[in-house]
Structures are given as structure tokens and as C-alpha cells.
Symmetry: D2
Subunit: 326 residues, 4 copies
């Protein structure tokens, strides 16, 4: 499908690519490359044989392009396709006037939905999938959740955990802009690891009557946060790992996982398309849409991408929405 872009939002991956860091240089296989994958647009043309879509439909898109035939794809795990390719990394992306995408990756939106909100459904899906890797609600409803790291997906996870009935959401973060947003997303307590120092674990345990949390969502990629995510976990609790570490990490598995009977989930993308239906339903709730809108701290024309990148790299912005103004 050919899509006219209406809005696109900036992801951490885009920032790494823009900075052309080590990871980006290893990962990108062809240049030039149009960045961007968090999208809201309107279909202007469709390939032959495409079913279920029409010109004029408003759509977002799943970022992972699956082959549809591998073991994972045929067993309900298309999001971890063995031959996955990524929009804006392996294929030209959406920071553009028009983009070409596989029709199978389309997600139809309500035309009335704010395009900026529509474009953040993809990272919102990450947050939902982090909290629900296997649909286990009793861990969340009426329970305690720790989110380590309040980047955009961490902030989304706080809002989602509260929406799923968590009695208490604790979060860790050092950046003051994100700290403030974590509270707005509904965190009951936000701890600054720098200020807490050695008291950090004790503070989490105190806040949870000594039991620890039922769920940890590790969103930072920092070894210290990883250790906290396990040390603060109640026996039998679960940890979702979304933040990337980029190197080996040392862990005392006996204490962290085995004696604790912990369950650990590696989180990659979001389920195609179970998570998208959940996300769509959540955005039908007006009070949740309002919360999400607060996360979009800046709206910038696509052509001013360098300014968007600077806002993010200097820690001033949470989520930046790029708008189709030329």
C-alpha cells in the first residue's frame, strides 16, 4: 500500500540511527535509508489482490515485516519471525511525505483519532506486551509493579499498569522531565536512583510492606536496574526485559531467579495483532487518550527532524510527534 504520512513519532531506534553509532553502523545494510516507523497516514493506493483495505482508510503500521511461513509465524509468534525485517531499518521508513508498506502490516484507525496518538500505538504496544507477555492479569490487577527506567515506553508502561488495575506502580528515573511525567502517568512513587543511593532497594521494599513487587518491567538497559528488578521481586513474581544492554551482564542466577522461582520474559516488539487490538481498545477510553496526549511533549514538522532529535538527545522531550507540514 502507498500511504500519505499524516504524523510520525520518533523512537529511540531512530535516535541511534541518526547518531550513526556503533550499533547503527553494524545493523544497517543499505544506504541511503529513510528513517522512521511509528506512523499515522492515509492510504492513497493499493496493490492488486489486497483484501480488507480501501483507498482513503486511515492506518498505522506494525513495524516488523514477517515472512508468514516460518515456524514462529505459523505458531502464533509472528512478532518473532525468524526472518523479520524492520521498517525504517531494513526498508525505507516513514519520515517522508509518502511511504510504501506491506498491506499485511496495516492497522486501520478511527479517522477521528488524533494522528499523533495513532502513531504512538506501536510503542504503546511494546508497553502492553511488556506487561502482558502471557496474558497474566493476576500479577497486575490489585498488585505492585516496578518500572525501571522512564523513557517513552517506560512512561507508557506506567499508564498501562494503572489502567490494568495495579494497586501501586513504582518507577525509577533520573531525568527531571521524565520524573515529572512518570507521576502524571500515574506512578504512585518515583524514585531517583542518584538521590536514593544505597537505600534504593530498601525504599522499594518499604513501599511494598517488605513483600516486594509482583511484576518488574526493566526498561532501561542498565545493569543496576536489572539487579533492582530482581532483588525487589516477590518470590514467584515475574520480570519483563525490554531495555537492551548491548553487552554481557553479570547476574547471580541462584538468588535472582532460581531460589526466587522467578519467571522472566524477553520482550521483542508486540504480538501481531493481539496487542494491537488491546491498544486500540485502550485508546477508546477518553481518560486514557488524554493521558497519552500529555506524553507527546513536542510536535514538530517532519522537515525539522534535526530539531526533534536535539530535543530528545538533550533530555527535554518525552515523545516527539512529527507532523506532515511542509
Amino acid at each position: 500500500m502507498l500511504v500519505r504520512v499524516r504524523a510520525a513519532s520518533v523512537c529511540g531506534t531512530d535516535v541511534h540511527l541518526w547518531a550513526w553509532n556503533d550499533w547503527a553502523q553494524r545493523r544497517v545494510r543499505r544506504l541511503p535509508l529513510t528513517l522512521g516507523h511509528e506512523l499515522s497516514g492515509e492510504i492513497v493506493a493499493l496493490g492488486r489482490g489486497v483484501k480488507g483495505l480501501e483507498v482513503g482508510d486511515h492506518v498505522s503500521a506494525e513495524t516488523h515485516i514477517a515472512d508468514g511461513t516460518c515456524y514462529q509465524c505459523r505458531t502464533g509468534r509472528m512478532h518473532i519471525c525468524e526472518n523479520v525485517e524492520v521498517l525504517g531499518v531494513d526498508h525505507d521508513g516513514v519520515f517522508a511525505e509518502y511511504a510504501v508498506l506491506p498491506a499485511l502490516n496495516a492497522w486501520k484507525n478511527d479517522p477521528k483519532l488524533d494522528p499523533a496518538l495513532a502513531s504512538i500505538q506501536e510503542p504503546l504496544g511494546n508497553a502492553v506486551h511488556t506487561l502482558l507477555p502471557e496474558d497474566d492479569i493476576e500479577d497486575l490487577a490489585g498488585k505492585r509493579v516496578l518500572v525501571t527506567g522512564c523513557g517513552p515506553i517506560g512512561l507508557l508502561a506506567i499508564a498501562v499498569a494503572k489502567l490494568f488495575g495495579a494497586s501501586q506502580v513504582l518507577a525509577t528515573e533520573v531525568n527531571p522531565v521524565r520524573l515529572a511525567l512518570a507521576r502524571k502517568m500515574g506512578a504512585d512513587r518515583v524514585l531517583n536512583p542518584v538521590e536514593e543511593g544505597d537505600r534504593l532497594l530498601a525504599s522499594v521494599l518499604d513501599a511494598t510492606d517488605g513483600h516486594g513487587v509482583d511484576v518488574s518491567a526493566e526498561m532501561s538497559g542498565h545493569p543496576a536496574s536489572l539487579h533492582l528488578a530482581f532483588d525487589a521481586l516477590t518470590p514467584g513474581g515475574r520480570v519483563s526485559l525490554l531495555g537492551l544492554f548491548d553487552r554481557e551482564v553479570s547476574l547471580h542466577l541462584d538468588e535472582a531467579i532460581i531460589f526466587r522461582a522467578a519467571r522472566v520474559h524477553g520482550i521483542f516488539g508486540r504480538r501481531m495483532f493481539e496487542t494491537w487490538y488491546t491498544v486500540k481498545g485502550l485508546l477508546e477510553r477518553p481518560e486514557f487518550r488524554e493521558k497519552m496526549a500529555q506524553l507527546i511533549t513536542h510536535r514538530v514538522p517532519i522537515a525539522e527532524l534535526p530539531r526533534a532529535m536535539e530535543l530528545i538527545e538533550t533530555g527535554q522531550a518525552a515523545k516527539v510527534s512529527l507532523e506532515a507540514k511542509w
Copy 2:
């Protein structure tokens, strides 16, 4: 443990026993009998060897007294103990100044929690267990839920479904007091089967884009509602059955369950004590406590039990809290 009762709330079971209907005459094995099982009180004495409780603790109680040794009790299903006995039915209950209860059934409360709210944790547990018989959140979060019948537990289920992130909660009810409360609990649409007549199913399907609901919670015990619960269900959805039918019901299993690949859960009590922890956590959220308080439409001294029963039998009340005023 010996408990001084602070508040007790009236359940439908109590109403049947009070009316001394056919079921009650068949079920009760000894008289006289003190009614009541939804409790909030203070421990005034403890048997020898009781661990984890102290005189002065504020407690509610699980109604089901399990033997602790049967197959079900030893496999995490104590709530369906083969030899279960019920407080206020097989044992003297709590509509009294003092009550004697097994310490294993105690549930410790925050002393600051309104005793009337503390006493409705037990039916709130029914509602939570109805929605989460196997902890499956993806059916709820961002999804559509139908509650057929808005008695107290149906009303609680509406509030709980919204709290667990349902995008849309539909409900059916005829009594105008309950209809109004269903909206206050957060139902997006309340349908009156009498007014809807033959359009009832079509109205539910219209409200859900023709897909039907992902979860039906049958709370009424009416065959017509049972049929609606299945007919309105999306393929692969699930139905929880809590309302009792008191007689055989005719069902077209091929259409209702088999071709639809429906999952059906019989709901009895609540999990001991997984559900209680969830309930406790939900009540830690201030906005949820406020909603729950709205359900307690009347507060009456225990000694005026006949008046409480009349309020319920005439359809004026949702939940009646009995207070320890003598």
C-alpha cells in the same frame, strides 16, 4: 477466632434463607441458625496455636470453610473443596454481636478501611473471579464485556471490568435502581431487555461493530440471558457462569459452544486467597473505593435486619450494609 462484628452486608443467599424458600428448606441442616457471612470485625480472642493474627486485628472472612486435605484443597483449588461448609448456612453466621470463625478463613484489613467496604470484599471477590477465572487479561484489556444481570455482583463486575481496562462494558437489567447504578459503575451501555424485546441481540452486536463481545459474565440465572451471553460472543470468546438456574436449561451446544470454540467457566466462590489479594489491592485505589461506596445504597443497624430484607426484596436497594449499632 472470636470476632466482634463491626459491619456485615446482606447477600442474595441471606435473602433466600430469610424467605425460607424451597432451596433454603432443602439446604439448611440445622436450626436455629444465625445468618450472614459478609463481615468486617475485630478479633477479641484467638485459639491456641494460631499464627499470623493478633487480638485487635481488623478482619473480614472467606465464607467457604475448606477441609485442607482433599484433592482440590491440595491442588490450589481450596475454593471448591469436596467437603466445603459455608458460613451462615452450615455454621452460625455474622449477623450478630460476636462470631466465631476458623482462623484460616481470616483476612486482615487495613484498620482505616470503612467497615462497610471491608464487608463487601467477599462479593467483590466473586466479581473478580468471574472476570478472571484463569487470569486471562487479554480478553478484558481493551476488549468488550457483556454483563447479563445487574444484581450486586453484576454491578461489581461492571466496575471491575472497567478497572481491568475493558474498552466497552455492556449490561442488561430491568430494575430502574440497578439500571442507574450500572451506569455509575461505568457501563458504557445498559440495555433493558423488556424495552429492547427482539432487538436485544442486534443491539449488542451493533454496539460491537458486529463482532460481539470477548467476554460474557452471566449473573442473572435467566435462560434468556444465558442464550444472549452465548449468541453475543465472538468466536473464541469466553463465558463465565455465576447466576444459578435452579433447573435444567436447554441449549444448542453446537451453535453456542462448539462451532464458536467458546470457553465456559463455572464460577463458585473466589480463589483462596489469590482473589482476596487482588480485591485488597483494588480497594487501595481511592477512585475505586468511592465507586464501591456508591453501591452501598443503605446502611441499617443489624437489629433492623427485617427492614434490610424488605429494602432488597422490593428492589429499592443494591447493597445493604448492616452496622453494629444496638
Copy 3:
């Protein structure tokens, strides 16, 4: 894909269509129609753009043709696609020299696998899905299973339940050929409802120390078996319903499901393609292949379909394999 048929097996659906009974007359939308859907064959031609298959591959096929775009298809439930079409019912089937099938429905086989065994993977998938509707093994491993009705899928279910570690498999059946096969499949006890009469339930309970079974698989479509499936179930157990009833059935839901906290699963087809992978793996075990071969009581050339039908209708055959001999 164009497939040269090597073997095909006869399903109950084919028998109904052949008999042209009421159901068949209501269900079939176009004539003439080639029957058959349980297949083993070799690919002789492929459409353009087909990935992952090659001419010469040995294949079986999933019978359900899904649209790939509906709510169910996009949420891991393709087997209950809202617009499902069925091979040999809505499309020409495989009792033929050649058949045309959608490539997405192909299932690649080991070329060394006996074509007759390859063709029964589809009903074997029904049996696996009946026992594992939600992957719950603790109900099976070391547990007690009741299979009501020993048609081909019931017989397969007995073998599969034993393979999944059931300590005891009980079965009911009246036909002597099937009774004998039920024992060969591994049933620990086969009860003849005609001989047992009023003692039937008591016999099942006696055989299970009074606890009842953990899982019932209802394969017969008879109301009496349905009642047995529930009455013999331990509290908290589960029932899978695969047999079709063709009319309303009367059930005392309170006793059957609600007080028993039963879980009920409607079974339709098999998961695409989770179940196929499981089936493929089971057939890699030599002792299981041998058991399966015993079920194929007759091998008949495709051209002699009328004789195959007669063998089945007169109760002489369990599974009949049609062979590509012309």
C-alpha cells in the same frame, strides 16, 4: 498449489455428505462437489509468488481455508476464522487424482512417512486439540481422562491421552470393533453403556477412587454421554466438546458446571498451525506410528469409494484410507 493425491482418508463429514442427509442438503451450496479433505500428496505445480514450497514436496493440508484478515485470524485463532471455508464442502476436495489447494494450507511431510498415516494427521490434530485446547498439561500428565464415544477421533484421543502421560484413560463405546480398538489404543478400561446401564457413572467413579476424572473428551454427540462427561468430572476439571448434537440439549448448569467450577471448551478444527507441529512431532515416535497404523483398518482404492462408505456405515471399519490406485 496443484497436488497429485497419493492417499486420502474418510472422515465422518464425508459419510454425511455421501448419505446426502438433512445436514448435507442444508450445508452444501454448490453441486457437483468432489468430496474429501484428509490428504497426502505431492506438489506438481505452484502458483506464482508462493514461498517455502517446491514442486515435488510431499504435503498434507489443513481443511479450513481462512481469510487471514478477520479479528480471529489476526489474533492467533485462524482456525475459527469468521469467514472460514471448508475443503471438500465449500471447495472441491481430494477424493480425486489431482486437487487444487491454497498454498497457505499446505503442510510439508517427511517423504518417508506412509501416505495413509500422513492423511490422518488432520483428524489426529482434532484429537490433540481436544485434549489441549489451552495447553494445560497438568490436567493430563498423571491424571484421569474419560473419552465418551470411540469413533475415529475418540480412538485417536485415547492414544494421544496415553502419550501425554495420562495415568488412566476410560472410554465408552457400544460397537464391538471400536471397543476392541479402544483397548489397542491404550484405554485402561472400556465401558459399554448398554451393558453398564444404570451402573455406568458408578463404574467410572469406582475406577477413579470416587474422585472422578480430570478431563472429559465428549466425542459422541449423545446427550447421555454429555451428562456422563460432566457427572464424572472432578470439581475444577475440564470438558472438551467435539461431538455435534444437531439439536438442543437439556443440562442442569448449576450441578454440571457452576458448583463444579468446570471449564468447558468448544472444539472446532485444530490450531493453525500449532497443532500440526505437535502432530508431526508425535508421528516421529516409532511406537506411536505403529499404534496409528492399527487404526487404519481398511485400505481401498479411491475409485472404490462406495465400498469404503459401506464399510464405515456398517460399523466394520474404524479409519478407511483411500489409495491412489486407478
Copy 4:
């Protein structure tokens, strides 16, 4: 209850305590201490108020003594009780003529069951729980399983995986006695890491068509095996960690868990008493009892415990059963 010991088997924990290594010196809080916790015996006396047991009953015992009142105990996770105490470590054990045990820990046996087999139900429970931490059979039935390390529990896990329908069980081991037993337990292929060297991972991937295994059970506590357990895992697969590492381990979480969307379970003990019921049912199968009997390579009088320890420490024995011969 007071139990006359009939047989007891030796666990790795007993070996560490006997060797009085660092761990043992840190862990044991009081001396003298009677070792041993894998038991088969006969009840000779019961405390007052004990229900469901009688003098003369044949019993084994769960090793973990739970408090019954903590968060974990009240939420179906008694096996990870916050205040767990261990038989033969915190309390006097069963390498004795008589032993005193809490009645709640009793597990009733069929008096006809070989006492040596009855005593290994406890480690067999470890193996079952390792393979079924969350009852997920589709990972096992018809799937590929890797067991790293063929100590007694690893050997049990091989037998259990085959019993649960695994199509292929791969194992790693260096000790020739254990290697031979691994094959007897049903391993389709046993790899010796010393002989394989750098080819080890490639050998596992080759044996699984390049897909890798669906489940890894890490039973060795060796970092190299841990890495293999993850590297050989298909995306979306799961790893159970039972072997203890005794020190920090370095892991590349991105590759091992996150991009792979792996699920990891820490395994501690076995579920009380879900796992025991499964184990009991498995031992009702004659062919499985025979396999288990092969694992008991030596039977030695309790009084000759030093000889038993030597047999284990020198790698001559798999499982040693101590017999009540004085």
C-alpha cells in the same frame, strides 16, 4: 507424625552436607543434624487433631516445610514459602530408623509401591516441575527438549519429557555411567561436551533441523551449559533453570533472552501438591515404574551411608537407595 523409615534415597544436597563444603557450613544452623529427606516409611504414631492419615499408612514426604500463612502460601505457591524450612537441613532428616515430620507434608503411597521408588517421588517431582513450571504442554508434546546435565534429576527429566510426548530429547553429559543411563531413560541423542568441543551447539541445531529446541532444562549449574541452553533455543522457547551456579554468571541478555523472546523459569522444589499428584499418576504406569527402577543403580543399608556417599562422589552411581536393614 512419627514414621518408621523403610527406604530413603540420597540427594545431591545430602552429598554437599556430608562433604561439609562451604555452602554446607554457611547453610546449616544447628548441629548435630540427621541428614536425608527422600523418604518412604510407615506411620507409627500421629499427633492429636491430624486429619486424613492413619497409623499404618505408607507415606513419603514433601521436603519443604511451609508456614501456611505467608503471601506465597496463600496464593498457591506454598513451595516458595517466604519462611520455608527444609527437612534434613533445618530439621532432623530421615537417614534414621524413625523420623518425626509435619502431617501436612505427608504424601500417602500405595502400600504395594516399592519403597525405593516411593522415596524418589520427591526428585521426580523436581523433574516434572522443571518441565511443567506453568503447565504448558504444547512446548513438550511433539516438540524438542534439551537437558543439559544428567545427574539424577536430569535423568528423570529425560524420562518425563519422553512420557509427556516429546518427539526428541537431546542431552549433554560427560560421565559415562550417566551417559549410558541417559539413553536408557529415552534420550534420542546424548552429546558429550568434551568430545563435541566447539561443534556442540552446531550438533544440537543440526539435530533439530536448524530450528533449535523448544524447551531447555538446565540441570548442571555450569555456565557453558547455561549458554548452550539459550543458544540452542528456538525464538519464543522456554528455559527452566534448576542447576545452581553458586556464583555470578555472565550472560548477553539481548541475544540470550530479549531478541529471542525467551521465557525463563527459576525452579525451586515442586508444587505442593499439584506435582505430587502428577508424579503419583505417572508411577501408576508399569512401563514408567520399570524405567525408574533402572535409575536406582545401588541399594545399600542406611547404616552404610559412607559407602553410599562414596559411590556417588566417585561417579559410579546414579541414584542410591538406602534400605532399612540394620
